[in-house]
Symmetry: C2
């Protein structure tokens, strides 16, 4: 197979690592890999699920289109991220659509294989449950952010997830374009621009797709403030 390198990446994903050791090779050897162009759909909302998806390279977004045409981005995955676990195991329909937002390489694990393996090892079900729960958790956090924070605070939160260090200055690269960042954070691109502008007062400078954070701790405090207080600091 020409995919040994891809498999190595897959083995490093949280989903695969949580699976029982003895089944990993079986699963990987039956997985298939596919390249997606930017803008190409991986699957559509309401389609029947036939596989679990693991991103090998590039970026993939999950989103819903509301009846009025507005698009709500639910999550964005890159190398090592997996999605569709619960749906694949249960054989129901996708509640969201998936689209490659850059050229992307995605591994697909056929759900038929997964289901048959699960019958001999219930631990697989637990791995799926763990992944599903992580997604659940991330949605709960998104809800909290949407309901309790201003746009600028959500942007700050987003920047913090991008930098690993937890204090001092830091420089991060915006991983995908601003239209998508805006969607992920529940705002319009124009509002994102203004949020960036506002974050200057919290020690953040944006140039192209680089963000320079003066002091990570200060930015974290900014996200935890009451919106009114955050304003008064400006």
């Amino acid at each position: 197979m020409a995919h040994e390198h891809y498999k190595a990446i897959a083995r490093n994903s949280l989903l695969i690592r949580s699976l029982p050791e003895q089944h990993i090779e079986t699963l990987l050897s039956h997985a298939n890999f596919r390249h997606y162009e930017r803008g190409e759909n991986v699957f559509l909302q309401d389609e029947e699920a036939t596989a679990i998806h693991v991103v090998i390279d590039g970026w993939v977004k999950l989103f819903r289109v509301a009846p009025n045409g507005a698009e709500a981005v639910v999550s964005v995955f890159t190398r090592g991220g997996s999605f569709g676990e619960a749906v694949a195991l249960r054989g129901t329909n996708y509640p969201v659509s998936a689209e490659a937002v850059t050229a992307a390489e995605v591994m697909h694990i056929p759900s038929s294989l997964l289901i048959s393996l699960m019958k001999e090892d219930p631990q697989i079900g637990l791995s799926i449950l763990a992944s599903t729960f992580m997604h659940l958790h991330s949605l709960v956090e998104q809800l909290e952010q949407l309901k309790a924070q201003t746009g600028a605070q959500r942007v700050a939160e987003f920047l913090l997830t991008l930098c690993q260090c937890d204090c001092g200055p830091s420089e991060v690269i915006l991983p995908y374009d601003k239209v998508l960042i805006a969607g992920r954070l529940g705002m319009k691109p124009e509002s994102l621009s203004r949020a960036f502008a506002r974050l200057k007062t919290a020690g953040v400078k944006i140039k192209k797709n680089h963000a320079a954070i003066e002091d990570v701790r200060r930015l974290r405090e900014y996200t935890e403030d009451d919106p009114a207080d955050a304003w008064s600091k400006a």
Copy 2:
């Protein structure tokens, strides 16, 4: 046991009905029941999970408190609703807090029992996964609504979930107080009042906790409109 009536209700819950027949009695006989006063906590965020919870009577909300003090309501359950499934099975900590918003009766299924039963029957894991996935799905819908709809449209959507018929006139009862409805829909009570006022133009009249819907179909159209269009119809 004095709880036969409660168990009958539990048997009717989606979670219990999805469990394998032969384990239901075991699970129910080891479950325990507890009464909660209004405002009492069922559990707190970051506590370790020891049970799955099934609401027998009354209403229970799941919520998170943001660092800035704002509260985000994640979901609200009543008779037959269950929560904490995934967390119980995995033995991790709750990502949310749970509080009775009316006097409530809640059944608790110890996770230790669940875990040991699951070892002999992996189908139990699938039932848990199914419930977890339903919660996931409902969060995705909430995200979509928050990102793509105005307050008034979310209120309309909420009213529609309360009435079973799908066309013609309908009368529904608001199941809990407006502060909580507002929280559930991501707005302040004042905004909820105004949203109700605005829905008058869509054929909805609110009196106390009764909502009279002139035409369900018309209200559904209202939720599907672009906010600007919805406005122009007023």
